[in-house]
Symmetry: C3
Subunit: 281 residues, 3 copies
């Protein structure tokens, strides 16, 4: 029924074609789904597949790791491994390149969020066309300001349009964890659903859209995309993020979180919104 095509190198994301029209990308780096340079590169590769395929109409992102959709970056990786990667086809560095291409894809993209969607996980949500989240188990956040960083994947450019400037600034400046209900009330996601209904809901919607005409999907989406912020804004956000990582505030912030147990399963990852404040006590 479905075919799985492995991606080269240690597989961090898994592309599954449920049908020629309906693909899934499953994020799978236990135990906490952090994102490093290799994953970014694999995301870019999937975009190339999607951009050139004639049949695919819908793409769903989900996770194979309990409690995490897609998490913050891997702070144990060397920053140079990320910053030395070549620009993508958009002329932007790899992470904003991937996000921009995802947004402009002639394919409908859906984030199925169960567990933590922090930093990169929130940014991929904002780049997707739609998002549906577990009412009980989803946590969204842009935690960066709380630890002295600037977010690197463009929530500054996207959140105001989506949820209003006031709530966008609350999300960014408070750096708090946001539960499914609150995310739905703010319009950060399309809907929060009871956890045991979420998979069926997304499956039905993706299957439905997968049967529609590709030209009609692509043409309609292209006309919606006129309201997108300019791609260069995502580049500006990325540059600010990289600049922030070179400053003592961020270096000390990350170090303080690490000392408390960040970057491995446990209380700091579970309650990151609490701990980004706690380190300033």
């Amino acid at each position: 029924m479905t075919t799985a095509s492995a991606i080269a190198k240690p597989e961090q994301i898994r592309l599954t074609r449920r049908s020629p029209a309906y693909w899934r990308v499953t994020i799978d780096i236990p135990p906490i789904n952090v994102m490093g340079p290799e994953m970014v590169s694999q995301f870019q590769e999937v975009m190339s597949d999607l951009e050139t395929d004639d049949d695919v109409r819908v793409l769903v992102f989900d996770s194979a790791v309990d409690d995490y959709f897609l998490n913050h970056s891997d702070f144990t990786a060397k920053l140079e491994d990320l910053t030395s990667m070549p620009a993508g086809p958009t002329g932007l560095p790899p992470w904003p390149d991937f996000l921009v291409r995802l947004t402009r894809l002639p394919v409908v993209s859906i984030a199925l969020i169960r567990g933590r969607a922090t930093g990169n996980g929130s940014e991929i949500t904002l780049a997707c066309d739609m998002s549906f989240a577990s009412r009980e188990k989803a946590i969204l956040s842009q935690w960066e300001v709380g630890v002295g960083m600037v977010p690197g994947g463009g929530p500054m450019a996207r959140l105001s349009q989506l949820i209003g400037r006031n709530r966008a600034l609350e999300v960014l400046m408070s750096s708090e964890d946001i539960r499914g209900d609150q995310a739905e009330a703010y319009g950060y996601i399309n809907r929060a659903l009871p956890d045991d209904e979420l998979d069926d809901f997304v499956e039905a919607l993706a299957t439905r859209i997968g049967a529609f005409d590709k030209w009609a999907i692509a043409t309609t989406k292209r006309l919606v995309n006129t309201s997108l912020p300019p791609d260069v804004e995502l580049g500006a956000g990325w540059d600010a993020c990289i600049a922030s990582l070179g400053r003592p505030a961020a270096q000390n912030g990350i170090k303080a979180l690490m000392a408390r147990g960040f970057h491995k399963p446990g209380d700091v990852e579970n309650r990151l919104g609490y701990f980004v404040s706690k380190i300033h006590d």
Copy 2:
């Protein structure tokens, strides 16, 4: 108390002046309020009346047909009858011409929605300044993508600003029926009201605004209108719609719906969101 002025030719919409300041346009083509070239022309005529009247402050759109506010286009009409109509004063074809002029009118426009507002009905809602809908009886939808079409009245340009890109794309790509409560939660309409309170609510609001100063209304609205998408985007959407109608996907989609009972009272019109998916089984 009120005077009714008949419009020439078979009357499909009825203009009633409840007072010099407060006008109503009632859509009335039983049994299902589909829109053909003649109705578009009558809508344009009403715009000319409104643009040149010194007293009118508020315009309400409602329907005289049970279960339908304003429905999709009349697919039994010849497409040439629509495409051969001359451009309106904005330089746009008649339907986007009407919608743009409605949006820019120095008059407050309100959609009172009871029953189905699909395609054109949703697009007139998005062009109005406000909309209030029956909680029990309103259904909004942009069903076009589901049947291989692109919407022709600009929801691609308008919905993202109104309800956020993620929910705009859900409405457009799912092509689903959206009930009053959901439409209110998404901000697609101003409010959903209990059906037996809807008329009084709109009447009170229209009467209230009808007593306010016309210059203050028009000047304030003009300053709000800076946030509108460029009018040409509605032209681009219209062109894509017409192009879609010439493709086999749309022709087959419409034909398949017709075979099941589309375009007359009954199950397909009542549950259009279900049937646009069903025809792809």
Copy 3:
């Protein structure tokens, strides 16, 4: 713990430094917190302090007057006292100058709303980065159109982006009082909170943000600010407001409200939304 720095002249607003990072501005002109030229000037002065301070990260606006956050303008003041004030550093007249500078400040601003936030009070809310309001005691409104005026502090430019064009036009054209729950449902404010939880909530949030890195706050906010409407739109709104004040409609409207008890504690101020309609009976 905290130091209060008095501002010259009869003190209408009070600046308190709760810490070097966290400042408050408390509005205090009993009995009904109307805004005249002197207050505008004091607001501008505070902006200068904030723009040049290296430590401040967060600013909270609140009120010392029961039942009023910040109210409409002082209609007993001479209009010339306001219109003769010199343009501010942005080149805009003082009130829009203050609002634009507040929005662009490298500091997080929060409106803590208890009581009436009408006209200027709503406009300062829209210029702040976030707002939290008493569920029981907050009333927001842009009442101007109801009395023949155009709002002067830019809600035409800001409200559509925040709450959608349809609800923005409802707020502006209905000129109605909007309670905390409705304001939250529309996204006009971030959240409505039970009155007895409001102060603690804002205190905790301001304290939290006050501990974060100033560069990260300022850089992130600057990137969010790309989505702001052009500053000149606030100038255009101001000009329209001043023009409206010279017209008979507004002069008669204000006079009719005054005759009923406007501008002092009592029924007209408490139910302004009702009385702006009542005067047209």
